[in-house]
């Protein structure tokens, strides 16, 4: 029992936290002797109940974080409270940057062994001078002041600085390519879920993809194995944007690129440019930002199951299916989740009654 490693998952309420916690609980090879126990942390309770984890409702900026980590003897912190899509929309994004800083500080103080951060290749920024395959050592760039990668870059650069200060802590940063999948809610899936999509005229960047299951697999892989460092994680193959749109049957509307950055109102908010209304920053649809996955294959020795094309085709298939059978799908899900709830409540009642009986006997 004492050998059990405690994994603290931040952002348990978002889909990544949920999937990752499930993976840890179900993916362990030895079912009788669980190697890991999971603590979920978030400022809002999860929508769905996750069996087998302890949920703690707290903000990352809470000053008692160090005490929590020490009291629970946390070994591994997996930081998933990093949204896929950040816009400088007031305090919410500040929460993430500040939260990460506080969390890292607390981890160092409490002597947490390993820190895992889910990041994105978006931190390299999209610019014309990018190499066709960006190595991990490349400098991070913020595209423009209102760009969506701004806060992720801030978080990452803080982590990188921290790594030098505390060399004994294993810090693993996984930079994922465009995450795609039937359940994933990321910039690229939001972009591809719209029936008519904007596109920059005359630009056809190469896009790197990764399937959502592979994301969880990669996170679980670095939880099990100690792999300090930064790794780009992407599926095999690079597809042009046009192929993405063609395979998902989108109607692209080509927009002349200077118009995409137009400021639409100089009266209201000063930085109210048109690019704010794009699901992705227009720069990310203009230049390639493909990470070099050689390090992933050779040092990390992780191989994604899906190739880029397979992941995309599965996503397209799912989208087409969803168009025809939306209600049936949800009904199916409802049935499943309801069954789970009933079973859980029954168990709780049984346990509760037995506990009550015990208490009665004691008295």
């Amino acid at each position: 029992m004492s050998k059990r490693k405690v994994v603290l998952v931040t952002g348990i309420s978002n889909s990544w936290g949920r999937a990752y916690a499930r993976k840890i609980i179900t993916g362990q090879s030895n079912k009788d002797q669980l190697e890991y126990s999971v603590i979920g942390l978030d400022s809002i309770p999860p929508e769905e109940e996750i069996t087998g984890i302890d949920f703690i409702r707290a903000d990352l900026r809470n000053p008692l974080m160090t005490e929590l980590l020490q009291a629970e003897k946390v070994d591994i912190v997996c930081h998933l409270a990093v949204p896929d899509f950040l816009r400088p929309a007031g305090s919410s994004s500040e929460k993430y940057v500040l939260g990460t800083m506080k969390l890292l500080g607390a981890c160092a103080e409490a002597g947490v062994r390993k820190f895992i951060l889910k990041s994105s290749t978006m931190v390299y920024g999209a610019n014309p001078y990018n190499p066709s395959f960006i190595p991990e050592g490349n400098s991070l760039k913020v595209n423009r002041s209102d760009s969506c990668n701004r806060y992720l870059v801030e978080i990452e650069s803080f982590c990188n600085g921290f790594k030098k200060q505390i060399p004994e802590m294993i810090i693993t940063i996984l930079r994922f390519a465009n995450i795609i999948g039937p359940e994933a809610n990321t910039p690229i899936t939001r972009y591809l879920k719209e029936p008519v999509v904007p596109k920059l005229m005359g630009f056809n960047p190469r896009m790197q993809l990764i399937h959502e299951n592979d994301v969880i697999d990669a996170l679980f892989y670095v939880t099990e194995n100690d792999m300090p460092g930064i790794f780009n994680v992407g599926a095999e193959g690079v597809l042009p944007l046009r192929k993405l749109l063609a395979l998902t049957l989108k109607i692209p509307i080509p927009i002349f690129h200077p118009f995409a950055y137009w400021r639409i109102s100089s009266i209201g908010e000063a930085s109210d440019s048109l690019s704010k209304y794009w699901p992705l920053d227009p720069d990310f649809l203009r230049y390639s930002w493909v990470g070099d996955t050689t390090k992933m294959r050779q040092e990390l020795r992780f191989r994604p199951v899906y190739t880029a094309e397979e992941a995309l085709r599965e996503f397209a298939r799912e989208q087409r299916l969803r168009r025809f059978t939306p209600e049936a799908r949800y009904l199916e899900y409802d049935e499943e989740s309801l069954r789970k709830i009933i079973e859980r409540r029954r168990k709780e009642r049984e346990r509760g009654s037995s506990e009550l009986d015990l208490q009665m006997e004691e008295k």
Binding site: P128, Y129, P131, S132, F133, I134, P135, L200, M201, G202, F203, N204, R206, G237, V238, L239, P240, R242, K243, L244, L245, A246, L247, L249, H257, Y287, D292
Partner: protein, 343 residues
């Protein structure tokens, strides 16, 4: 010969009625006859069909006939062509041909619109290259009448770094080098030219270059390409000869980009100097000048000790030497050239 064949046929028909011993006898006779024929026509074997021998054959045989007979044959040939136009089968054939090509084209278009096409990880799309190649072939064969030499210096497989002189603004020289190697090299190798970093920001052009398999100039890109055993072309002069007067162009060339030596040392790829003559005159206004592309012998840059990779003096020395070699190749071609337009 023909009469003999008839006799055999006759015999075969006869034997079908008579008894078996007779049949065997005839069989033996036929076999002997076949052997005889084989010994006579031992060395001749049927040739693969091509139009040149056929034309030669017709021409040879036409001489056998008298003048009047020859004219008659030609007349007959002419009328038969005319008659064919009234034949329904001719039109049917034409219809089938057209239908087939149209179907093929529409299938191709459908595949492209539904995204069923393959690109490699650099974005190279072979179908796009095949689509635009006729234009490049026209420029190569008819417009600039490119003449090449030293094609044997390009390796059949494996990495190599082509270092070429560059005339100025437009990357036509790069295109012509790529087409020359694609058309005339036995292995039809694709050349990955490294284009300048001012291109990616321009709409359509960047996309087009990527689809043709070209790659942005970048140390990471170049090393990765060479490690994948590709043929990479660099133009170290960049734009320094753009906007120069023609008489200055041949005099001055300055390698603004010395990184290629570094990359060659790092990957162990041989450097092949390439000289282009004629592109300078066709730079700003595309004049139909005569072009010459010469591929020099491969130079292996030795890396005795790893220090030299980062030694700027060594790098610039190698760069200068290669520049001199290209200059020499350029000059030897220029000294032979009598006319800009006719070579």
């Amino acid at each position: 010969m023909t009469s003999g064949d008839e006799n055999i046929n006759q015999e075969i028909i006869d034997t079908s009625i008579s008894d078996e011993a007779e049949q065997e006898k005839v069989q033996l006779e036929i076999e002997e006859f076949i052997k005889e024929i084989n010994t006579e026509t031992k060395e001749t074997s049927p040739e693969a069909f091509s139009k040149h021998p056929l034309r030669k054959f017709i021409r040879k045989n036409l001489n056998r006939f008298s003048q009047s007979l020859e004219n008659g044959k030609l007349q007959h040939f002419r009328t038969s062509v005319g008659e064919d136009l009234f034949d329904l089968d001719t039109w049917k054939g034409i219809y089938y041909m057209l239908n087939y090509t149209l179907e093929y084209q529409s299938d191709l278009l459908k595949m492209r619109l539904t995204g069923n096409y393959e690109t490699d990880e650099w974005g190279y799309d072979p179908e796009v290259l095949q689509f635009v190649k006729p234009l490049f072939d026209f420029l190569y064969k008819s417009f600039w009448r490119v003449e090449t030499s030293g094609m044997e210096n390009i390796p059949d497989e494996g990495k190599a770094l082509l270092v070429c002189n560059h005339s100025g603004y437009l990357p036509w020289d790069g295109v012509m080098i790529a087409i020359a190697i694609y058309n005339e090299h036995p292995n039809q190798r694709l050349v990955r030219s490294l284009y300048d970093s001012s291109f990616p920001a321009i709409p359509y052009i960047s996309t087009f270059l990527i689809k043709l398999g070209q790659v942005l100039i970048n140390e990471e890109n170049c090393v990765r390409l060479l490690e994948q055993d590709e043929l990479v072309a660099v133009f170290p002069e960049r734009y320094c000869r753009a906007g120069m007067l023609l008489r200055d162009k041949n005099l001055s060339s300055n390698f603004g980009y010395e990184g290629f030596v570094h990359m060659s040392m790092m990957t162990g790829a041989p450097i092949i100097p390439v000289s282009i003559v004629g592109a300078d005159e066709a730079d700003v206004i595309p004049l139909p000048t005569k072009w010459f592309i010469d591929f020099g012998e491969a130079i292996q840059v030795e890396v005795g000790h790893m220090k030299s990779v980062d030694n700027p003096e060594m790098v610039s020395m190698v760069s200068e030497q290669i520049q001199k070699i290209i200059k020499g190749m350029n000059n030897s071609r220029l000294s032979l050239r009598q006319s800009i337009f006719f070579g």
